[in-house]
């Protein structure tokens, strides 16, 4: 009878090979040992790999909570700077003081409050009362007329981020369609809705102090970069003309002179997610489709012919002019000078138009008095937007054939000759034009407290957002990633 493991027996019942020798059982056992260890290791590794996401799920959730906590911490501080608790108001803050609200726009204070312009260089802090739940870094910057707070939460190996876009409160208007400082109902015109006239007191005084500061902060956010580039003598060049999307896409992020996007010959489709600095005027003509681009322009912006802008942000150190058949959808326009929409131009989909009414001038140019109207809508144009004028004296004017929807907000006069569905906040309503025989310098308005056109209620007026700095901060958008 031969001995040895059955599996090593041949069909003739004879032991063959290594198993027929002494020590073969040990070798066989070691062989099985290796197999078993490999199988077990593979199983264990597989379990760990498969469950790693489950384990990181808890860490990731805490990282998200930490990021959220950081964002709320920033909001809490900004809210406190804008509207301190009553006890603090009595002790330290007088809303009539010219310093009121200063910290809200003081970048140094904001930087120490919310971190830095770059999340990687921001100092980490613990938003909780216990230090076992990770740390947070905050980043803050302007995003158009809004303020963006970005919080990054780190917990163990997990990292999450929260971005909050802040505007201003004041989006519940009820059935009121007109808020004005002058007393009494306006004469003429047609008003479908309630009127709140005779605004006065601390709220108005505070606004008059906040608005110039908000405008300064907004200008500083854009103008600093432009001024640095335009003061450099190397950056002066002749106009740059692009006649195709492909050509436009190859442009550097700084155009050292005027930029002309010319779709007069063939249609242009320029769709890119990028930021362009133009050290001159920007003009778009012909059939140009421009999508997703942020333009910061050290001059005027002219959007003409059949130009279509979608999801675009515009900042002009001068004025912004839209005419002909140009169309803007989901566009943010910030004009240091005036904003004009005329001809058959259309501003659609709740755009945001902010005119500061203080265009950049040459050093030698005389200081001009702000124009009575910083936003001017004429011809058969259609405007669906939040329209804000950020200075103390300028207002908004519409002509007879214009149709507007949304919010008109300013501290100056508003002249509505056409139709508006939405809400107006103004110093007063006026009838436009100079009465015959009156010198221009004497009378700008034909009559005060007079409406020539119509104002009616708009059901979704609460969806028109207000820029940051015109009141207590409000969360416009909240992104988690």
């Amino acid at each position: 009878m031969q001995k040895g493991p059955t599996i090593f027996r041949s069909s003739k019942n004879k032991i063959t090979g290594v198993s027929a020798k002494r020590g073969s059982v040990l070798v066989t056992a070691l062989f099985f040992l290796v197999i078993v260890v490999i199988i077990a290791s593979v199983y264990l590794t597989r379990i760990q790999l498969l469950n790693k996401p489950l384990l990181s799920q808890a860490n990731t959730l805490q990282a998200l909570f930490t990021a959220r906590a950081g964002a709320y911490h920033a909001l809490d501080s900004l809210e406190n700077l804008a509207h301190p608790p009553p006890g603090q108001v009595l002790k330290t803050i007088n809303t009539l003081d010219s310093a009121f609200g200063k910290k809200l726009f003081d970048s140094a204070a904001a930087a120490s409050l919310t971190g830095a312009n770059d999340a990687d260089t921001a100092a980490p802090f613990n938003p909780f009362s216990s230090d076992s739940f990770g740390e947070c870094r905050l980043q803050e910057n302007y995003s158009g007329p809004f303020f963006m707070v970005q919080a990054r939460g780190d917990f163990r190996q997990a990292r999450r981020a929260v971005r909050a876009r802040l505007g201003s409160k004041g989006r519940a208007y009820g059935d009121t369609v007109l808020f004005c400082e002058t007393a009494g109902l306006p004469q003429g015109g047609s008003i479908d809705g309630m009127v709140r006239a005779g605004l006065s007191g601390n709220a108005v005084d505070s606004l008059k102090k906040l608005v110039p500061k908000a405008a300064d902060a907004l200008l500083a956010a854009y103008q600093k970069e432009l001024d640095t580039l335009s003061n450099d003598s190397l950056f002066k060049a002749k106009p740059c003309i692009v006649r195709s999307g492909a050509e436009a896409e190859k442009l550097d992020s700084v155009v050292p002179g005027p930029l002309l996007v010319d779709g007069s010959f063939y249609e242009i489709d320029w769709t890119q997610k990028r930021r362009m600095l133009v050290l001159g005027d920007l003009q778009c003509t012909g059939a140009s489709l421009i999508q997703g681009i942020d333009f910061i322009v050290d001059g005027d912006i002219k959007i003409l012919d059949k130009t279509a802008l979608k999801d675009v942000s515009l900042y002009a150190a001068g004025g912004i002019f839209m005419g002909d058949y140009a169309v803007a959808q989901r566009v943010t326009m910030i004009g240091r000078g005036a904003i004009s929409v005329y001809g058959n131009a259309q501003v659609n989909d709740k755009c945001i138009l902010v005119a500061i009414g203080r265009p950049k001038k040459n050093k030698n140019a005389p200081v001009a008095k702000p124009a009575p109207f910083a936003c001017y809508f004429a011809g058969s144009s259609i405007v669906d937007a939040t329209v804000v004028v950020m200075n103390l004296t300028s207002g908004i004017k519409t002509e007879k054939s214009t149709k507007c929807r949304g919010v008109f907000w300013c501290l100056g006069p508003v002249c509505i000759q056409g139709a508006l569905a939405g809400v107006v906040r103004a110093n007063k309503l006026v009838a436009c034009g100079v009465p015959p025989g009156t010198p221009d310098s004497v009378a700008v308005f034909a009559a005060d407290n007079k409406l020539q056109g119509s104002i009616k209620r708009l059901a979704d007026v609460g969806k028109y957002v207000m820029p940051y700095g015109l009141g207590p901060p409000a969360v416009i958008d909240w992104y988690e990633e």
Binding site: A58, D76, S132
Partner: protein, 128 residues
């Protein structure tokens, strides 16, 4: 030639010992793997429950309902978990705070267990 053939009792004993040890080791690894798997699944469930509670807090905040201490149970995959939410008195935020935030801790414990499975800390703001 004859001495090289066949098995000795020593060989068999050593082989049995080696295979036995290997089998026991492998079983231990498999048990460890199973324990890890079960714990991680529980942790995942805890994260899910905490996330649900955080969403609940967020929804309440929309109506300016301030977060408060609470305790409730929830059963998932046949296992019951106790969810304890407790409001934490803010220390770091008392200075320069508008009072529009609440800090809370969510603790998840499997029923019948003394050990807390996971703790999460969050801050909810009321800026709506």
């Amino acid at each position: 030639m004859k001495n090289n053939r066949g098995l000795t009792i020593v060989e068999v004993l050593v082989a049995v010992l080696v295979l036995g040890a290997a089998t026991m080791g492998a079983m231990a690894m498999l048990r460890t793997g199973d324990r890890i798997k079960v714990r991680q699944e529980k942790l995942s469930t805890a994260a899910l429950l905490a996330q649900n509670d955080a969403e609940r807090i967020k929804n309440l905040a929309v109506n300016s309902i301030v977060v408060s201490d609470t305790e409730y149970e929830q059963t998932i995959n046949g296992l019951t978990y106790s969810i304890v939410r407790s409001v934490v008195e803010p220390e770091s935020l008392t200075e320069n705070s508008s009072g529009k935030t609440s800090e809370a801790q969510i603790s998840i414990t499997p029923s019948g267990s003394e050990d807390t499975l996971a703790r999460f800390r969050l801050i909810q703001g009321y800026f709506y």
